[in-house]
């Protein structure tokens, strides 16, 4: 792991802590006898993020100056040694999931889900066209049947509402 990213995360923590403290200052206080009050815990938490983030930032900066090594210590490397690592892939998959969330209600589960699965499988290098399409379609239909039809969990159907209405009956 890169120590410079570790440093960036510490800085993000400090900024997030300051934002959290600002949020705490906006909390309305009631006239109760509670000495800690509504903002006591949030303030303590904000201070933990700011002070903790600063300590980590200073610690990482000092170790960077000492060793000039970009690798962060105290972090377990959980990647398998024998296989190449892609740092972009998890973010692309996360992005595909975020698009699925945004598309779920407008275009419905039956259209959004095969697209998400196909994108995920493609990103995970499962690229044989027939198995890819089969897994995407079969999983989507199986989930729809189990959840929507059998378990009565209403899934959004978007433009396929007339068709889904007949299937649900």
């Amino acid at each position: 792991m890169d120590r410079r990213v570790d440093l960036s995360i510490a800085v993000v923590l400090v900024v997030a802590g300051l934002a959290w403290l600002y949020g705490a200052s906006l909390i309305r206080r009631t006239e109760s006898v509670d000495p800690i009050g509504e903002s006591g815990f949030p303030i303590a938490l904000g201070l933990l993020f700011v002070v903790g983030g600063l300590i980590i930032a200073v610690r990482v900066a000092l170790s960077l100056r000492r060793s000039h090594q970009p690798a962060a210590d105290g972090v377990d490397n959980t990647d398998e040694d024998a296989h190449p690592v892609s740092a972009k892939r998890p973010l692309l998959i996360w992005g595909a999931c975020a698009l699925w969330v945004l598309a779920l209600e407008p275009i419905g589960f039956l259209l959004a889900t095969p697209l998400l699965l196909a994108a995920e499988l493609w990103l995970l290098e499962f690229r044989r066209p027939i198995p890819l399409v089969s897994v995407a379609l079969v999983t989507t239909i199986a989930l729809f049947v189990i959840l929507d039809i059998l378990l009565k969990v209403s899934l959004p159907v978007g433009p396929l509402a007339p068709f889904a209405g007949r299937v649900r009956l």
């Binding site: 792991m1 909390i27 509504e38 969330v101 699965l117």
Partner: protein
């Protein structure tokens, strides 16, 4: 004493319900299959099924979740033996000795020892679970807000002190979990906090979407960094069950593993892996065949398997008895129970002992099922080619998202899971503990409520708050763990 015996009799009585039996069977089977897939992990296997529990009664849900846990702990060692890849981290020592035996053509011996010791560990630990959890019911009337605050605080610092290599990152991780729990209505005055103009934030964030993001989605994103297929062993597979002499040789290792596993499992933060490692070393110390350890020792497999299976029941002692999860997976179980309206702790044991009976039924039923199906499943899995890792990951990811959506049919909840998943992914990558964050999220609200409620109860006198005898003892214990964590963290930093 009465509750001790009634826990067993009523637990067994629940097993005559055919619907519950089917639910326990399905939970066990799912657990074995999920745990039996490399990288499946207890968290992922459990996560996918949590939304389904909301279609069940609370008793069925408790039994189902615990049956899954039993199944996972059995199944996780099957790929450890067959592929050298543990299904969950606690099976990594089985991967060393079991896989060595498999490569020598003694697959049946490894799987057989695993089968017997897993079940023995499970059975013994269920009795220990009831024996240790029942006395906690006596705490119902001794515990007021200050004691609960101290207990929640202890649960949090123990996990942080025992889990992390970097104590400061551990506390920040817990803080991140607590921060999620502070959004929404104030527990004492109903004032809205951090919700802005967002309607969905007014009532607060439910723990399940956050925990599934922090624990399950982040793990999948981490696994997605690499794409590969598992290498399978091409040699002959001998599936002969171990002989009586071989099983007798493992007796001490199984017994030691079961005791150590239960006790370490019951310690928040220690979890199954610690119990498995301690038991393995203990078995090596007691063994007459020390040279075999690491090269295919059946005693090593026995100790490791008994311990990691026993740890699962041990895990449930603080989770159900005190409402303090011992780790990330039990935090998920706790969150699921909270959504069912069950608040684990001494009061639950006294007022709704049916949940304790359901826990016993789930663990006992699953173990009995494993007696019959465990060995055939292990033999079948020895011959089945492993599933495509990429396809499994894609489907599990989808199941988690759809599962969260099905909780309240809200895309907002899925969004919360995605945000928590991304936060959890970076936490994992840079040494921040997601288990501590999960615990912080589960305990955060109670921590604040009991601190403020307790101070009010003591008429705003903080000294009276901390000097109540039970509170003082628990807080001193917590301080002890903080010091232990500091020393450990300092030593590790110096060693690097």
């Amino acid at each position: 004493m009465e509750l001790f015996f009634s826990a067993f009799t009523n637990g067994v009585a629940l097993l005559v319900d055919p619907v519950l039996l089917v639910i326990i069977f399905l939970g066990t089977l799912w657990g074995v299959l999920g745990g039996g897939h490399p990288g499946g992990s207890a968290t992922l296997t459990l996560s996918v099924m949590i939304p389904l529990t909301f279609l069940m009664t609370p008793i069925q849900a408790v039994a189902f979740l615990l049956a899954i846990m039993v199944g996972v702990n059995y199944g996780n060692s099957i790929p450890a033996v067959l592929l050298g890849l543990p299904g969950t981290p606690s099976a990594f020592l089985t991967a060393i000795d079991g896989y060595s035996l498999h490569r020598k053509g003694q697959t049946g011996l490894a799987l057989g020892i695993m089968f017997v010791s897993s079940l023995a560990g499970q059975f013994l630990s269920i009795f220990a679970f009831v024996a240790l959890v029942v006395p906690l019911a006596l705490l119902t009337y001794a515990f007021l807000a200050p004691e609960y605050f101290a207990l929640y605080f202890l649960g949090l610092v123990t996990v942080i002190s025992l889990l992390g290599r970097d104590l400061l990152k551990g506390y920040i991780s817990a803080g991140i979990g607590v921060a999620f729990s502070l959004v929404g209505t104030d527990p004492m005055s109903a004032v809205s906090r951090y919700s802005g103009q967002v309607q969905e934030l007014r009532t607060g964030l439910e723990p399940i979407p956050i925990l599934l993001g922090l624990l399950a989605l982040s793990e999948l994103l981490r696994q997605a960094r690499q794409v590969y297929t598992y290498e399978t062993f091409e040699g002959t597979i001998n599936l002969r069950f171990p002989s009586r002499a071989q099983l007798r040789r493992c007796f001490v290792a199984i017994l030691g593993g079961s005791v150590i596993g239960t006790l370490t499992g019951a310690t928040p933060g220690a979890e199954a892996t610690a119990g498995a490692v301690i038991s393995y070393n203990q078995a090596r110390y007691w063994s007459k065949h020390k040279e075999e350890f690491g090269k295919g020792s059946i005693e090593g497999i026995a100790a490791n398997e008994a311990a990691q299976n026993a740890a699962q029941a041990g895990d449930m002692i603080p989770t159900l008895g005190l409402g303090i999860p011992a780790g990330g997976t039990s935090a998920l179980v706790l969150a699921a129970l909270l959504i069912h309206g069950i608040i684990p702790g001494p009061l639950m044991l006294r007022q709704t002992p049916e949940m304790l009976y359901a826990a016993v039924a789930g663990m006992l039923g699953a173990t009995v099922f494993l007696v019959f199906i465990g060995w055939p499943i292990a033999k079948v899995m020895a011959r089945v080619v492993s599933l495509d890792r990429s396809a499994v990951m894609a489907i599990v990811l989808l199941l988690i998202l759809v599962g969260v959506y099905s909780l309240d049919q809200s895309v907002f909840s899925v969004g919360v899971t995605l945000v928590a998943g991304l936060v959890g992914y970076y936490m994992r990558q840079y040494g921040y503990s997601v288990a501590a964050a999960a615990l912080g999220n589960i305990l955060g609200r109670g921590l604040e409520k009991y601190l403020r409620g307790g101070i009010l109860l003591m008429q705003n006198d903080p000294v009276a708050f901390v000097t109540r005898p039970v509170t003082a003892v628990i807080l001193l214990l917590a301080i002890g763990f903080i010091v232990l964590g500091l020393v450990q963290s300092y030593r590790l930093r110096r060693a690097v």
